[in-house]
């Protein structure tokens, strides 16, 4: 049974509200639901699965969590065809080949040679192994876009998430000294396996309300004028109501606001939107839809 992650004394969190406050200090505006989930991750050491549309700050959560706890963030980006070699560990083949060549003249049995070239010196640590090997404190492990990896990898993760140990056939089993905090994100391009979901806490991250989004804009762009910020947020929120192929997330709001600021705008008008439309609409069709819906109407 793996032990819970270890938290340094001065990083102890006193309840959900304390966590919200600390996240806000680090520039991440969170709601009670997400804060509760993160609190449970820290307290119970359960993995957390965050699902939601793109651009809503899923990946940001573990980064801020790592900053708050003062530990390392280890990130594994998933993609189709991700295999154990690039996720867990790999042997440094070139170096092994060289070593074999160099040691050709040395009087050693095959077993001794083998033992040498399969030692830690030749092991390339990939993210999952790194997270297990952490020496001083529990790191935060981010497994990003797990829905892109295939089912076989998911099954492998299951094993890792329950035992926090990895077996390297040539070296034996490596058990985690400090169990990492695990956060998985998914864009929901496919349904994850039931077993994996059951092992994780779950949070669905939705588009923020006007107030929350304003708070985020203020936190991330401290210099922004209140009027401009309000207009941008209202505009993007209106754009989300349209049936766009890729609805704008919070990232797009921030991009749009930042662009307007950089262009020296004080308020968002039709011209300003036209100039920065690429921040909100990410395809030609979406741009056309925005224009068809009437930018002027959306701004009012």
């Amino acid at each position: 049974m793996p032990t819970s992650p270890t938290i340094p004394e001065d990083k102890q969190i006193n309840g959900v509200d304390d966590l919200i406050l600390r996240f806000e200090q680090l520039g991440y505006v969170t709601d009670r639901a997400l804060a509760t989930a993160i609190y449970l991750v820290v307290k119970l050491g359960k993995p957390l699965l965050i699902e939601g549309h793109a651009g809503l700050g899923k990946t940001e959560v573990p980064k801020v969590l790592a900053a708050m706890l003062g530990t390392r963030l280890i990130r594994l980006q998933c993609y189709e065809g991700l295999d154990v070699n690039s996720a867990v560990y790999e042997w440094n083949y070139q170096k092994q080949l060289l070593a074999i060549k160099i040691e050709e003249k040395i009087e050693q049995t095959v077993e001794e040679k083998e033992k040498h070239i399969f030692s830690k010196e030749f092991l390339l640590e990939r993210p999952l192994l790194q997270s297990i090997l952490a020496e001083d404190a529990s790191p935060v492990l981010l497994i990003d876009e797990i829905d892109r990896a295939d089912e076989a990898f998911e099954a492998f993760l299951l094993e890792l998430l329950s035992d926090f140990q990895i077996t390297v056939p040539e070296m034996g089993t490596i058990k985690a000294k400090h169990v990492p905090y695990v956060i998985l994100t998914s864009n929901r391009t496919r349904e994850l396996s039931d077993a994996l979901k059951r092992r994780c806490l779950y949070h669905w991250i939705d588009y923020p309300s006007y107030e929350k989004e304003m708070k985020i804009v203020r936190a991330r762009l401290p210099g922004i004028e209140e009027q401009l910020g309000g207009q941008v947020v209202r505009f993007v929120q209106a754009a989300r109501q349209l049936d766009l192929a890729k609805p704008p997330g919070v990232t797009e709001t921030l991009d749009c606001a930042q662009s307007a600021m950089t262009l020296g705008k004080h308020r968002l008008d039709v011209q300003a939107v036209e100039e920065t439309i690429g921040c909100v609409a990410k395809s030609m069709e979406d741009g056309a839809k925005l224009r068809a819906a009437g930018i002027e109407k959306m701004l009012s």
Binding site: A33, K43, E51, K197
Partner: protein, 376 residues
């Protein structure tokens, strides 16, 4: 607050998990244990945080997440008024076998068993007859030809499934050098990579789920479509077959029996006592709730054999198909009526379903059934 604290004691958390399970939030003992752990870890006085925490544990998708709030409210409001939650949501459609007449389709199935003993039909002989039979509409097959058609179809189905499995093998020849094993193999040769090791992608075994309509309107076809399912099941390893009209029943185990007449007899018994109409949406929903998680994955092809005449709600049909589409690799809808020239898929159910279907193809004769090979 003492009352509230009492309500959230271990027993009530356990009770709540059970209640949630009955109301469509599937969770196991594991989740209950975590929920108890969670209840210990947070301040119980804060009702909101308590709810949020339980939601994080028990829900595992957006839909369940939305459902949770209702369940939570229902449970705690109920348990405040009475000693226990007895206002369970009505679940009308689950396993409610309505008494009624046996569907005629299955009667026909068992009736055809008796013709087994009859001498072979004389109407068919030779290759040209075989070709003719492949094209003839299954509903119009003369009685004399039935047995011959059956034999031809079994033979052709077998060939088809063999071709399919062979095709998979050939496709997976592309390989990469596996450096790791190459080095390992060549240590005795001083590390010179003389013998190469290769790796290829593990072949993904295709899974099939067959959903067969046996309602009255499918009467003339279900006779053969069941045989079709039997043949597929015989030659594919991972096939699950379901019959539906207003209810769903799994017949995978029955079709596994060695001889067809036995299987058909079993079928007519199992589906006995069903009403005659078709509720595709409801049937799919039952399937989704009970079996979907187990059977659907991204290498599953979901095959629906139905004419699309539906007395259920089209919205529900569309929603359930969407749900299946998200989990399965593809949805193939084989519709016998598509073979008729004047037919257009404009019935409410069919037009609601079409946007979610990957392949929409006819299934009115043997030839069209054999064409399934192309879509798999």
């Amino acid at each position: 607050m003492a009352q509230a604290q009492h309500n959230r004691s271990a027993a009530s958390v356990t009770e709540f998990c059970r209640f949630a399970r009955e109301n469509g939030l599937p969770n196991g003992v594991q989740q209950t244990l975590v929920a108890l752990e969670v209840a210990k870890a947070i301040e119980l006085s804060d009702q909101q945080v308590f709810a949020l925490a339980l939601r994080a544990v028990l829900a595992s998708s957006k839909e369940e997440w939305d459902l949770f709030n209702q369940i939570f409210e229902l449970f705690w409001s109920a348990s405040q008024n009475t000693s226990g939650p007895d206002t369970k949501e009505e679940k009308p459609r689950f396993n409610s076998h309505r008494p009624g007449a046996s569907p005629q389709a299955l009667m026909a199935l068992s009736a055809s068993d008796s013709s087994e003993a009859e001498p072979e039909g004389k109407a068919v002989s030779g290759a040209s007859a075989q070709q003719r039979l492949q094209k003839v509409d299954l509903a119009d097959v003369p009685h004399d030809d039935l047995r011959a058609l059956e034999q031809i179809s079994m033979c052709l189905f077998r060939k088809m499934s063999q071709r399919l499995s062979r095709r998979r093998k050939l496709r997976n020849l592309a390989e990469q050098i596996d450096v790791r094993r190459t080095i390992r193999r060549n240590i005795p040769r001083g590390g010179n990579p003389i013998v190469l090791a290769f790796r290829g992608r593990k072949p993904q075994k295709q899974k099939l789920v067959i959903f067969l309509d046996i309602s009255g309107s499918m009467n003339s076809y279900s006779l053969f479509l069941t045989r079709f399912a039997y043949a597929l099941q015989k030659y594919f390893k991972r096939v699950n077959t379901f019959l539906f009209s207003t209810n769903v029943v799994e017949i995978t185990d029955l079709l596994r029996t060695r001889n067809l007449p036995d299987a058909l007899r079993g079928l007519s018994q199992r589906a006995a006592g069903w009403a005659g109409g078709t509720k595709i949406g409801d049937s799919l929903r039952d399937f989704n709730r009970q079996q979907g998680r187990r059977l659907l994955s991204n290498n599953t092809a979901f095959i629906i054999l139905s004419d699309g005449w539906d007395i259920g709600e089209p919205e529900m049909l569309a929603a359930e198909l969407r749900d299946i589409r998200r989990r399965a690799r593809k949805i193939i809808w084989l519709n016998p009526l598509l073979g008729l020239e004047e037919y257009a898929p404009v019935t409410r159910g069919m037009s609601a379903a079409l946007p979610h279907v990957d392949v929409f193809a006819p299934a009115h004769n043997l030839e069209s059934l054999l064409a399934l090979e192309r879509y798999l």
